[in-house]
Amino acid sequence: MIQLAMFLWLAGQSATADSAQQHLQAGLEARKQHEVELEIAEFRKAIDADPKFAAAFAQLGAAYMEKRDYASAIASAKRALELSPDLLVADQVLGYALLAQGYAAEAIPYLERAGAQDALGIAQIQTGQLTDAVANLTVVIAQRPNDPDVLYYLGHASGLLSKSAIDTLLANYPDSARAHLALAENYFVLRQMPQAEKEYKEALRLRPDLPGLHLELGLVYANSAQWPQAEEEFRAETKLQPGSAEAAYRFGSALLQQGKPHEAHVELERANRLKPDMPETLYTLGKASSLDGDAVTAEKAWTKVVELEKTTSLAAQAHFGLAGLYKKQGKTAQSQHEMKEFQKLQSTIGPPRSE
């Protein structure tokens, strides 16, 4: 009698488990068909058939997530984890749902366990764990380099991390060269050039040998059209960093701006040797060498720009330069060809405007 009763109970249990499993499968099938309500109904039936069916609770939570019913999703996922603490699906659902509800700190342990680095990174931004956020999102971006959401959050986290670091720098070391440098860069971005100049100068006073400072101060002067001062700063940077192609390029450009084509030519040649095939350097080298009477170098530089840039506005400018160069040399056909190329590009990319 007892044996019979045991048999019937076991048989009943098995029938219940089979039924729950079938409803679970039906729910997952409904998900594929994007029928959320049917999905929820099937998962509920699975839970009715087996109230301790952790996987069904987890999937029900996932279904609620689809409906953006985060409160229900949290309840289902929590129940799943009570029943089966190692159920990663439930961790993931609970982590996402908590994050969606604004409970970033609470979401983090679940997202960590689930290995959901994208959402984890976002949660860490919200809790101020910026270094960890950047690390996690950097891993994700390597896997999904074109995901706009990840790109946004990585940029956002990096910006906040940068700001946080600078805030710490300014709060703890306000009189340091780096603090003045940070302030200067901020003013520069805001185009508040007098303030930027003041801060760069103070940074330079404190750390005259800091690489990049003269370059950045030179850019302040260049943006304010104070070319003699810009030239001096760029010159100082080239002395400090003789291997810097950018310093050489900026120095050459400042020399050219002041109508010193020969000196500009020499410096821009040097910039080109330090870092060959940079279109901006080559274009400016073309201008300087043309004004310096070195038509061979000008032609070579501008031709290279055209080869590198093909259809950009810089390529158009190089065509225009070549047209003028050939015209001066009496090479009418070549001049006309370059002018046509210039006009062709103008018609596709729009007429070039001064900045």
Binding site: L190, R191, Q192, M193, P194, N223, S224, A225, Q226, W227, P228, L256, Q257, Q258, G259, P261, K287, L291, A316, Q317, H319, F320, G321, G324, K327, K328, M339, F342, Q346, P351, P352, R353, S354, E355
Partner: protein
């Protein structure tokens, strides 16, 4: 005994010379003109553009008189047809007669030049003796209808616009008289900016709330009027080819750039390529700026062309072109290579360092220190009256630029102006007849400024001032090519921006006490005068017979 001149002495004198301002900056005595541009929150683009000034001797007493163009009143939101309340005397144009003591008397009402019409918002002025009666006439450009005032020779003027047929319409800016067909009668060229009216205004800049750039509005055509010689003009814009191209023109200047005996026309356009109208000599023009190298910068970029001067800056006898522009561009200097083409020379001439942060309007190549090289003066100010909020490295009000010409390379000098201005017009002439070129600058919302040249740095240099008296050519001699001791000027009162300059041709002679003068008249007559005494005002009359 001769004392060796030490390095310290040299530096000391250099510092003193550098410290001395070039001009004495003065208010014009007796002049109470206020340029009313009436800026509003509606940011009507016309508010940024006035006002012209002319230096001319309307009563032939030998003293330069001054005519100012006023803007108008914009009380609030405008609707077409606009009313600028020009009948209110605060918004009149003004004529000031110069007195013997250097002061000025307002003769506007007596001259009949007061009310310029309520529908007209004033812009610029051109001066020329269109009827060859010996008295200079006035042409005023407006947003609205332009006005030609005939000088009656008795201190009064008559509005002859309707009879002459030169009212134009739309938004006219700069204008100038020239004799494009060498028939001895001055013709008239009028630049027009864009198709705009108050009903089609726009505001740009988002939260910054700024005036819109020109590309926001449709381009339009310029106008050429041919003088029939009977007091009437014929609109030949279409027939001549001038209207074949639309633009956004602000400035105009004239010279015969290729020496073919016919006056050519350069037009500065805003935010696009510039135009050079080559005079074909048969009543038609061909726009050839791109082929000639004048259309774009050396980088192939368009210009925010505003003011323009078309004179020879490097004493090679060929008229060169300088166009004033907005910051981040450079004032564009185009050297006339003498073969019909021009080369962009801003960098070589030193303008890169001098001009890349400034906005230029009225401009002149004048020999302020009488050393034989034409110097550069530019009235400066940004277009946007709130530009500092948008870019803290720029300024709405600026000091004018004075740059001395050292054999083709320009170096900054102290103009003497210490208060930044929202400057627009700049007219050049020898106001006090002392042999040194002076400048009158107009400024939005303020009084004009006189920069009286005290010969700073050029003491001891000689000069010669030539008035042309055409007989077969137009009486003003506009279009003549005048060479003095290796320098050349092309006779015209046009150029700069919305202004008319003293038509007399001023030459600095350096240490030369005598000069050789050669005049090539528009009629083709060539006249040579040798051993001309320096430091005098000389009238050169065209021979009546070849």
């Amino acid at each position: 005994m001769f004392r060796r001149f030490s390095r310290r002495d040299f530096l000391g004198s250099a510092v003193l010379a550098a410290a001395a301002p070039f001009f004495e900056v003065k208010a014009l005595r007796g002049v109470n003109f206020l340029l009313q541009n009436s800026p509003t929150p509606h940011k009507y683009l016309i508010e940024t553009m006035p006002g012209g000034v002319a230096l001319f001797d309307y009563n032939n007493d030998g003293l330069l008189d001054i005519f100012f163009v006023n803007g108008g009143k914009i009380a609030g939101a405008l609707r077409v047809p606009e009313n600028f309340e020009r009948s209110d005397s605060r918004y009149w144009n003004r004529l000031y007669r110069q007195n013997r003591d250097g002061s000025f008397t307002d003769v506007t009402q007596a001259a009949g030049l007061g009310n310029a019409g309520n529908g007209n918002y004033g812009m610029g002025v051109a001066i020329g003796d269109y009827d060859n009666d010996g008295y200079p006439d006035i042409y005023v450009t407006n947003y609205g209808k332009n006005i030609l005032y005939h000088n009656n020779g008795d201190g009064t003027f008559t509005d002859v616009t309707a009879k002459a047929g030169v009212s134009g319409g739309g938004w006219s800016v700069s204008a100038g008289f020239l004799d494009y067909d060498n028939d001895g009668h001055l013709d008239l060229f009028v630049t027009r900016y864009m198709e705009w009216d108050a009903d089609h205004n726009k505001i740009c800049g988002g939260d910054w709330h700024t005036y819109c750039p020109p590309a926001e509005f449709p381009a339009t055509t310029n106008v050429l009027y041919r003088n029939r010689g009977d007091g009437t003009f014929e609109d030949v814009s279409g027939r001549s080819g001038i209207a074949a191209k639309k633009g956004r023109a602000l400035g105009v200047a004239f010279a015969d750039y290729d020496g073919d005996g016919f006056t050519d026309i350069f037009v500065s356009n805003d935010g696009m390529q510039q135009y050079l109208y080559h005079n074909n000599g048969d009543g038609t023009f061909k726009e050839c700026a791109l082929e000639s190298g004048l259309a774009l910068t050396a980088d192939g970029k368009g210009l925010s062309g505003m003011g323009v001067v078309f004179q020879d800056y490097d004493n090679d006898g060929q008229p060169d072109v300088l166009v004033t522009v907005l910051p981040r561009e450079l004032y564009s200097l185009y050297h006339n290579d003498g073969d019909g083409s021009f080369s962009y020379k801003s960098l070589e001439a030193g303008l890169g360092a001098l001009t890349s942060g400034s906005s230029g309007w009225g401009v002149g190549f004048e020999d302020f220190d009488n050393d034989g090289w034409k110097d550069l003066f530019v009235a400066q100010s940004h277009v946007l009256d709130n530009v500092e909020k948008i870019d803290a490295s720029l300024s709405y009000k600026e000091l004018p630029l004075l740059a001395l010409n050292h054999q083709g390379r320009f170096e900054r000098a102290d103009s003497g102006v210490t208060t930044p201005l929202a400057a627009r017009g700049a007219a050049f002439g020898d106001i006090n007849n002392d042999g040194w070129i002076d400048v009158v600058v107009t400024a939005l919302g303020g009084p004009p400024v006189l920069l009286l040249n005290r010969g700073g740095g050029g003491e001891g240099n000689h000069w010669l001032c030539i008035s042309l008296r055409g007989t077969r050519s137009n009486r003003d001699g506009y279009g003549a090519r005048v060479s003095v001791n290796g320098q050349t000027r092309f006779a015209s009162s046009a150029g700069s921006y919305i202004c008319a300059n003293d038509k007399r041709l001023h030459f600095g002679l350096g240490s030369a006490a005598k000069a050789s003068v050669e005049v090539l008249w528009p009629s083709g007559a060539k006249q040579v005068l040798n051993d001309v005494r320096a430091n005098q005002f000389l009238e050169v009359r065209e021979p009546e017979h070849t």
